[in-house]
Assembly symmetry: D2
Homo-oligomer: 372 residues x 4
């Protein structure tokens, strides 16, 4: 179930073939999903509701074939490793992985280990600064049990593929909560017209943020129409809702420079705002945008001679605004897709995150549509 299956179309731009981040040629996504056990929380034993999602920025080797990238922080109560080098060099030089808050470390080191495993002692990569983000799944998952292991990271890497992207309760999004409904992984894309360059923009989110009463879909106050008295919140009353986070990854095949990627990354925050996010205090709302239009760029950590200069292209700024709109639209739709794909989940201690009910959503949307 996706937004368009309900007739909900966000914005005015055309979607890509799959309406997914993989519409940007070469981008691959893989998941490893861990759902084990039920009942009361026993730290270290479960229940487990977590996982790892991997985004490969293109069809080559991300360690040796860097792409320009930039980031934006809407609210920083979160982690996205590797940002200092992205800010300095303007380049993404690793896969991207998303997981739960307390497993960032194991995923980070395992991504390096996978590279070493593949290249062995002859590797020409001196060091690695991988990009790993997180949101908090401790409401449903035994987050302090550290259930994510290196083998799950290897599995997500092995699973990375072009084509359709699994959404909802998968990978890093497995145990997530969004606007007090079940959240998770979602994606969407836009394609500009030929006059605007024909570029593709894809967004993938791990959506785990937001209050019910602020949820707005295509301008309709869905959260007020489906209140927690109708579909209960995934959070207990004493716990401040809106305590989660959202990580957004933006991909495009436009030939953007690093500072242009930063501009796209900030527009993902505008998409979140339109759905009702405010970058709440306990939220880690971090966005990373990368552009594949200037591959390959040499990476600094790779040994051996490198050319003095590289011929590249840049999108002329007066043509960048349609890309901003594309990011805003795709982010809004990706969040909605995450919620619609996610099914109701019972987690640790019986905590339950209810799915956004599609029939009710359809009803509510219809009520706010003007009569013809």
């Amino acid at each position: 179930m996706r937004a368009r299956d309900l007739g909900i179309v966000i914005g005015q731009l055309a979607q890509g073939t799959r309406n997914a981040i993989t519409d940007v040629a070469g981008v691959r996504v893989g998941h490893a999903t861990l759902i084990v056990g039920e009942g009361p929380l026993v730290a270290g034993r479960g229940p487990v509701r977590t996982g790892v999602t991997v985004i490969m920025p293109h069809d080559g080797d991300p360690w040796r074939d860097a792409v320009y990238a930039g980031s934006h922080r809407l609210n920083g109560n979160g982690e996205l490793t590797g940002l200092e080098w992205i800010r300095e060099s303007g380049m993404l030089t690793s896969p991207i992985a998303l997981t739960n808050t307390h497993s960032v470390g194991v995923v980070r080191d395992a991504i390096i280990a996978a590279e070493i495993r593949d290249r062995g002692a002859t590797s020409d990569a001196y060091w690695a600064l991988p990009v790993v983000g997180e949101t908090y799944d401790g409401r449903l998952n035994d987050i302090n049990g550290f259930h994510v292991r290196p083998e799950h990271v290897f599995a997500a890497l092995a699973d990375a593929r072009t084509g359709a992207v699994a959404e909802g309760n998968v990978g890093g999004g497995t145990g997530m909560i969004c606007h007090e409904f079940k959240g998770g992984i979602g994606t969407a894309s836009r394609v500009l017209g030929q006059a605007e360059g024909g570029f593709s923009v894809g967004v993938l989110v791990q959506a785990n943020y937001g209050r019910r009463d602020r949820l707005s879909i295509d301008g309709v106050p869905v959260g007020r129409e489906i209140p927690i008295s109708e579909v209960p919140s995934a959070w207990d009353p004493p716990r401040t809702p809106g305590a989660g986070s959202i990580i957004g990854i933006v991909a495009t095949d436009a030939p953007l420079l690093p500072h242009q990627c930063e501009r796209l990354a900030q527009r993902a925050a505008l998409g979140v705002a339109r759905v009702g996010g405010a970058g709440e205090n306990s939220s880690g709302d971090l966005f990373l945008a990368f552009a594949t239009g200037n591959r390959p760029m040499p990476a600094a950590h790779v040994a051996g001679p490198q050319p003095l200069t590289r011929d590249i292209r840049t999108l002329v700024d007066s043509h960048i605004t349609p890309l901003f709109w594309a990011v805003i639209e795709a982010t809004e739709e990706a969040i909605l897709n995450a919620m619609l794909a996610a099914e109701t989940m019972v987690g640790r201690d019986g905590n339950t995150a209810h799915a956004l009910p599609p029939d009710r959503l359809r009803e509510v949307m219809a009520r706010y549509r003007p009569p013809p």
Copy 2:
């Protein structure tokens, strides 16, 4: 005419007494409005459609009684002088003024001159780094005629007052265009409940940005419902619409530290996003937030001994989220107030910016409201 006169209420929080930035105690606003001549543009002669708006951050001397402040850039195609010192010191140490793009300089120096005029040779202020922002009014105004003079700045300073704030075609907002309707100065406020500290938040915008077809009011696609075929755009077709900018000033009496002010400033961008702004390439979307809850702070440019430390307060971060919502709501409503207060204006060369027609807005809003 304001949003609430049409029954449009943005968000869920209570408004302040006047629903204006002046609901933050001590904040004062003054305008000098220049509307002279009509007909074809003769550079240096007019027609003139411009002005200066001044915001005094409190009821004291802003040069000697500093307040904490922070800023955010959504898109930087604009100017807001004084930001480097605000970023470094976390303090606003001057009045704030808004004008047109090509008059930032004269306004800046005149603000210093006014201080010197008042204090004379005995002034204890070594230097001044005033805060002056701008948006572009060259579609209606003879912007290259440099019609703003120091005396207009002095007049705006003299006009600064608490209480009701004139909106629309006044001060710096005189010649502005917003979502291809007439724009200008607008303001709104929110007051938190006592349990959340009872703080006030006020926003004032100089609104000069946006495309018609992206205009959204309280989630309703007003811009698509009142297209330029019905109410013409203020811009010619070959000129990219959405070419303007928005400056937003956020005030609060909460005891925020500089980095907390920065967080509020970014939330103003989320309010703009909800109305349909995207930080378009040609837009200078800059936001400044200041907090009066820790006055007075000594300013670095003032001679004489200063205490080693100052006892201050900070809002504990777990209580900051309602302030974020307040900023988002007040920004959205301030933009709408700017458009509703602004009347149709004919400027240079007969260029016309049409007002957002309130009756049509009421009709459109009603169509998107669900039946009871």
Copy 3:
């Protein structure tokens, strides 16, 4: 008198032909110097010790032929207008001007006026966001007299030329003080070897910062060796010395992208550190680096169709470190050149800024040189 005339060579890289920012092909520098009157300060009458320095980034039209640029703030007690657009677009789209703190406004608007004067009603530039920096000359100059006028800006623009650069008490540097000696404008350059690309790097500073006892030249504690008991400070005892600022402009012909320019800009701060600067609280230490290796880039404020993309080049990062060294060395030497070129100046109220005495400097340097 320049550093090399005294046998002082900073660092290990080769200097350019003129050891000036104009060694970067096309860069032009012009000054307007205002030295009028003497005796007691009468605000508005003088004495006047100020001026304007203009840097044109290349031999073309800076408004229509943009270059990539980036900035760095070591300490923000200063102004450098236009930075928001440079941060956003990565481009310098105007001349650069330097003046005193209270004349930034008049210089900014006059730079726009000069463009309009030259282009007239047919100008294709919608708006302008010029780059104007400042340091404080109120110790010697009647800074509150606002003696800089538009005609002085026009004169500095008209004076802009390639070739040798006047240093010391000229242009914006006229009334400046550095490490409690007379300061002003200084410049230096470095040229990389062919294996490193053969790029030129030039630095121009307006040097007005620093305490005497922290002055270090090529590692030698010159300030402690020539204390204020020997050569009096330009400041009165009760006034905190080190109250000034330094603005540094870095130019290179390397094909750098905006984020690479930012990296160069920060290295200018490292050069300041080596001379003894600490970014003191009252200092506005702002640096701007631009790179001419990718001209011309279209500027956003220019009307008319622009290409979708531009073919450009980027220096591969693994070759950027020599440029860092070049910036550090040239900044250090530019500061020293500013002090050596500046002659003792008597300003308002008889306040005197003494020149760094070259013979004493030579002596001190010799004492710290090891015997052969």
Copy 4:
């Protein structure tokens, strides 16, 4: 062996009791050092030359008793996790750990695990975003063997103590190289006079950066005087030297706000510049400053009610400059202490990092000291 044992005193401010970061009351440092095996590299087996260093910001519980903090990036080819939350909240809410580049993940998660182990199921901490930095020790260490294990992190935490700090080849500094000599952990401190508040400033570095020929100690070109022809470089000729990094942690008991901590953090970069660092392209030069003068601050991740506001203090900015000088001086001396404490180390494949020979250093320094 420390700098002062050789009569080398950096700067003019007084040192603290131990001339260490632990002179800031309550700051504790612990190390776990791994030195195992010798001979050729066999990935996963060794030789091992690495470790973990932990800095506890005060004598309380860093998770529940937050301190204000700020950071600075001189060059971002490195990792320092947790920075997004420090930038957003202005608070350090965890221990700080330093290790090698490829062990950041295991150290990060182990710091969380230690907290959970100590607090168990009753922990009131929802989530954790620990601060873990790194530099690259792969020249001496089997960095791809991932030899750092959680138990080493627990050991470093258990080792954390006030008082003297072990320097050189210990903890995270075990396998590090600095200016092509042996590097490692170093520390120093300064204490301001009572008129300046009597505050303490301590710096701890993990020093692993720099070229030989750029090494400068107290202004003396030591690296040119002790070239690699005399004491061989730790790097092979084809490998670009200066490929390392430096992490600097600044502590003070002054009551600084977050933005003031950021200012201190940048001054650590100025100290590095004075020793000869340039933030080379392959360097991860990241600095974190924290201030204990406003403890305790509530942390956002801790459950339960929190007060609306907190009474705190701030240092008035006009008194901050001496703290800047203290950071610059202590950083310079901490780097030197790291090199002097470190002993020659033979690592993997017989790669050898030679210690800076103290007798030769003494000799060189004497030659550049002027005759009395």
